[in-house]
Symmetry: C2
Subunit: 343 residues, 2 copies
């Protein structure tokens, strides 16, 4: 146990509606069986949850809805009420509005008041950044329990009028890769016997001189949403760089804690898509670690993923078990991760 | 001097183009002399800088452009290069894109790499939140100099096709109140004799049960930018609440440091508009404090304002002088501020 250790008191997650499988997507967009097979083989994502009703196009769920649900579950899991929380940190790439920040809408709904709130604008590394800021709030004193939330919704960009048959593959893949979801956790610096502890957090911008691997735009009132693509990826660059970056952050975490690869019991890898996650865990090559993944059924729900993985793994940690969680943001190449241990 | 004190090594700011006065706005939008007088009396903002060319509608400057310029000036002011910075924190309500976060684009342009970067999504309180996160990075060790940036650009929402004559006043006022700009500072926990020190930072969400005073939307590819208003304010609620909230944060800062009102030499008040700032400083009623304001000539450039005020005041602090900076975000009612002292 170290002075800079932070306890995870609880987690909670939320996904909108029922899972939407590839057949349902194909049916909605008028695509054929071959297309479904293409997704299975080259993307490896079988289903996802969407904040949009595929039949009507209506937005059924906001990011605040998802974040609120996840946060309520985390609070209930820790047996805490709104006045027990003395800080909130949220990470997302897709806030419901530019102002107010979604974290403040969620605070209001939860009955939380009079505390500092922060919302980090970030891609998939935002969950780790949020955990990092929460950790620093706890370590600098004056705060005992921080509610961390992370999640994303692609509802505003999910265009049901799109013609998938004329869409270039690099754009088309976005329709199947992403899903919506959010997660939350209550973190504390106080002793909490038996809880899983965050031993170390690293987040590192490495985008110097590198073009972005992913760009997600927003449009203002003075613009036309048809003027430019909203989402652009360089999947070749991503496929090349992400496994390597994941390996680097693993090495840095292990090195800083003096942990051996053979000591790692659980690995929570980056979750761009089912296929990509496989490539990454191969590159990590941890000899005995059990992989905790969910992207094949949840889709890539951005900042929500780390918490979906945490929720699926924390109960499995036995006393002394160690874990590594890694997130990579390909927008401007941020590598991030943290080390877990049940003490 | 206290262990939790943070030094401001330097500041830098950037405003796009030449000042645009009310006559130029009136001319561009076909408004008359009476309208100009109305702005002078009821808004009190005489000019602003815009990232949009009024003649052509072309966006001349991005937020990254402004942030980069401000950051370069701050780095030069501290005599530091890119490798001297080991963390970046930015605050904005109007990032250029959702991904990458603008802070990472700026890091790349400045030649900064391999460090943690954070971008806070926030209205006018974002500059204080960014200073707060930077302070906690410095206090938790491992970081010696943090580059803090804050700014906003309304370019994407600045609609030159708008007909001001048919626009309701609550919407029209946005055209004259806001301006674009950014600021930066280098903060350090190391001793820096003669520098102005940040003694205390407070940021506090107080939006429980209160409707937002300001909403700023973004539009996705699947939407139509004409479907809803992009910016909405409840100016009556803002006029009523902001002076009171500013007073509360002043009291909390003074109380926590044991400072008397009569000790405050400089006050950097919230800067919604020229007229509003006057109401706020009257409510603060600091007996000898000199007011440091700029909104009447810069417009409300959101998160940039606090740094514009810092740049205009730091050199004026004599040894032992004390100052209070206050920012209020009316979107979901965040009050924030910090205390300054030259030791």
């Amino acid at each position: 146990m170290d002075d800079s250790d932070i306890r995870i008191l609880s987690t909670g997650t939320a996904l909108p509606g029922s899972p939407v499988d590839n057949a349902a997507l194909a049916d909605r967009f008028g695509m054929d069986e071959l297309w479904q097979q293409w997704i299975d083989v080259f993307v490896g994502t079988r289903s996802r949850h969407l904040s949009v009703d595929l039949a009507t196009g209506e937005v059924t769920t906001t990011l605040a809805d998802l974040a609120e649900r996840a946060a309520r579950r985390a609070l209930a899991g820790a047996g805490l009420g709104p006045t027990d929380i003395d800080g909130m940190v949220m990470g997302t790439a897709t806030p419901d509005t530019l102002m107010p920040a979604t974290v403040n809408v969620v605070a209001d709904r939860l009955g939380i008041n009079d505390i500092p709130t922060y919302q980090l604008q970030s891609g998939c590394a935002g969950a780790v950044q949020a955990i990092d800021v929460a950790r620093r709030l706890l370590l600098t004193g004056g705060h005992r329990r921080i509610l961390v939330i992370a999640g994303d919704s692609c509802a505003k960009h999910f265009d049901l009028k799109a013609d998938l048959r004329t869409m270039p593959p690099a754009e088309l893949v976005n329709v199947v890769v992403f899903g919506d979801g959010a997660g939350a956790a209550v973190l504390s610096a106080d002793p909490a016997p038996g809880s899983v502890v965050i031993r170390k957090v690293i987040t590192r911008f490495t985008g110097l001189g590198r073009p972005p691997g992913q760009v997600v735009e927003w449009f203002g009132r003075a613009e036309n949403t048809n003027d430019r693509a909203a989402v652009a990826e360089d999947y070749k660059a991503i496929e090349l760089a992400v496994p390597e970056m994941a390996r680097e952050i693993l090495d840095e975490l292990l090195g800083s804690l003096g942990w051996a690869e053979s000591e790692i019991d659980y690995v929570l890898p980056p979750q761009l898509s089912g296929r990509m996650t496989k490539r990454i865990t191969e590159r990590l090559a941890l000899p005995v670690a059990e992989e905790v993944s969910c992207v094949d059924t949840t889709g890539n729900c951005g900042n929500g993923l780390v918490f979906l993985q945490l929720e699926r793994s924390l109960d499995r940690f036995e006393r002394g078990d160690k874990g590594i969680a890694i997130a990579v943001e390909s927008s401007k190449w941020i590598k991030a991760g943290f080390a877990l241990e049940r003490l």
